[in-house]
């Protein structure tokens, strides 16, 4: 497949505006600014582009919820708070092709009528934040940002806002609170951000990879995009492969490419030729797949049909030597560390899960602990403001669905079955 999202990242000085322009950059912006904003929203709806941050919500539909009143202040916020373990795709674009994202953001802002936009980037991405700031300055200089962009009368400001180490700020309403200078804790919905978002004004929040698809859609059309991969979940997708494979890294492939092809062809197969055991298909939240499920297409609907999810497309591959109790403990420890503390079931539940998993993993499990995990999961799932607590439960249930015997063995024998 022709690369769309990662086409520039290996070029020399790929981050500079000259390189981006030489590769046909900002042509889509010029085209978009001649269209009516509503037509661009329709174009993105027709393309069936779905949000690449994890939820897979149709991007054009999200944009269409923004009120049309031209006197109303509106915002675009780019979610660059990449933090779901196993996910490292947005950083590649931010560090190496920042103008692709910026161009996508300018077009999106024009479509929804936003005159102010922010990139919320996780605090640890110091390098990426500086790259973005330099690229934004270049775009202002060339007249792609600021007042009266390319003489069209459209005005847009863009700024980078750095987070400070809270995973929860990747949740869109927590992100907004953080941008407003508060603790990043999710807001109750409704009202949705499209109605009352940043500073109480209509706001679209899109992921880096989602926004980076926009220039190509404008340039090549909705039909072209919709024809890549499955009809209801199309487009190019960056799969980030990590764990026990020979060639971990980023692979841009059509949505719907099978997990088996990504692991065994693109990523060079299992590390050291060991046997495959399990795959987390889309960041640690996504329930695990086992060998017989590897022919599943990596797209939103195919994975949902299996009870898992595409999430961010961050694929963590594990071989036969991996202890699933340890994996669950590591994942749950993450969620309890990152719980914002707003909802009791999540704050207390994830901490409790981690304690029980710790003792099972360390040979101190009690009879009944496996059932206790089930009960705690039941008391978290669906009882919180945001999906963080649900994510912890989905990850654990997904693991126990296939490897419950390992948990039981740990409790009964006070040691691991596999390592």
């Amino acid at each position: 497949m022709e690369k769309i999202l990662l086409k520039n990242i290996h070029k020399e000085d790929s981050f500079k505006i000259e390189t981006y322009l030489a590769g046909g950059g900002y042509v889509a912006l010029k085209k978009a600014l001649k269209e009516r904003p509503d037509d661009i929203i329709q174009l993105v709806q027709d393309s069936n582009l779905r949000g690449r941050g994890g939820a897979g919500f149709p991007a054009g539909l999200k944009w269409s919820f923004i009120p049309k009143d031209p006197t109303m202040q509106k915002y675009l916020a780019c979610n660059a708070d990449e933090g779901e373990p196993g996910t490292f795709k947005d950083r590649a674009i931010i560090d190496n092709d920042p103008h692709l994202l910026i161009e996508g953001m300018i077009i999106t802002s024009f479509a929804i009528g936003a005159s102010s936009s922010y990139i919320y980037i996780r605090g640890e991405f110091e390098f990426g934040a500086s790259r973005l700031e330099e690229a934004i300055a270049e775009a202002y200089e060339k007249g792609y940002l600021g007042d009266n962009i390319l003489g069209t009368g459209f005005n847009l400001d863009m700024a980078v806002h750095r987070g400070a180490g809270a995973y929860i700020c990747g949740e869109e309403t927590a992100l907004l609170d953080s941008l407003e200078g508060r603790r990043g804790q999710p807001r109750i919905k409704p009202p949705f951000p499209a109605i009352a978002g940043l500073y109480g004004k209509p706001t679209v929040i899109n992921n880096v990879e989602t926004l980076s698809c926009i220039p190509a859609i404008v340039e090549k059309g909705a039909k072209w995009f919709a024809a890549i991969g499955p009809e209801k979940s199309p487009g190019p997708k960056i799969f980030g492969v990590s764990g026990h494979v020979e060639r971990p890294g980023l692979y841009e492939l059509p949505m719907g490419t099978s997990a088996r092809e990504i692991i065994f062809e693109h990523s060079g197969g299992m590390l050291g030729g060991k046997k495959f055991k399990a795959l987390i298909p889309g960041g640690v939240t996504a329930p695990m797949l086992v060998e017989e499920e590897l022919d599943t297409g990596m797209d939103f609907d195919s994975l949902a049909a299996l009870g898992s999810m595409l999430g961010s497309g961050g694929m963590i591959v594990m071989d036969e030597t991996t202890c699933m109790v340890r994996v669950s403990w590591i994942i749950n420890k993450f969620f309890s560390h990152e719980s914002c503390g707003k909802c009791t079931p999540c704050r207390e539940g994830t901490t409790w899960l981690t304690k029980v998993l710790y003792r099972i993993e360390h040979g101190e499990g009690n009879a009944g602990d496996v059932e206790l995990l089930d009960r705690i999961c039941g008391n978290i799932f669906g009882r919180t403001f945001c999906p963080l607590g649900d994510g912890a439960v989905m990850a654990l249930r997904g693991c126990m669905k296939h490897f419950r015997d390992e948990f039981v063995y740990h409790v009964e024998h006070k040691r691991c079955k596999v390592c």
Binding site: A164, E180, G181
Partner: protein
């Protein structure tokens, strides 16, 4: 005390946002940077005063976000090693144990000469190049023991 340079940074931040309060997170980070990675209570109060916020707001922010280091006595080089799943599958524990032995401290501690602080952290978004660590602002990836030795000997 906030330096003139930090105040200039904060002044610049105030133009970026619709409200002054939005500048509080980056302002605190500038204050922390001027003190080599440590945030003092005095500076937190000064940031609040400068922006025009109740000091409870800066306390709230600093208590919530993990990248602020109030009174933690962080060393010149803050070594943060990812111990989340992808890194763990690629022997992050081994790297952490090696660093603990090499620096003669446990994770979460600072060496006596205040040169190094070692922290075990959650995912830093560098899973394809695991194991990895961050030292101050920089990422170091695809770590091996000999690479760790080389990186540490090349500091300053």
């Amino acid at each position: 005390m906030l330096t003139e340079e930090t105040k200039t940074h904060i002044e610049g931040l105030l133009n970026k946002y619709k409200t002054r309060r939005s500048a509080v997170m980056p302002a605190l980070m500038h204050a922390q940077k001027q003190n080599a990675g440590n945030l003092t209570e005095e500076d937190m109060r000064e940031v609040a005063d400068y922006i025009g916020l109740n000091p409870v707001v800066t306390n709230e922010i600093v208590g919530f976000y993990t990248m602020y280091n109030p009174l933690k006595d962080i060393g010149t080089y803050h070594i943060q090693v990812c111990a989340n799943l992808s890194c763990s599958l690629r022997q992050a524990e081994f790297i952490i144990e090696y660093l603990e032995k090499k620096l003669d401290i446990k994770s979460g501690e600072t060496t006596k000469n205040k040169r190094y602080t070692l922290t075990r952290v959650e995912c830093l978004g560098s899973c394809g190049t695991a194991p990895m660590m961050q030292i101050n602002d920089d990422y170091f990836e695809d770590l091996t023991v000999s690479k760790v030795d080389e990186i540490l000997s090349n500091l300053d």
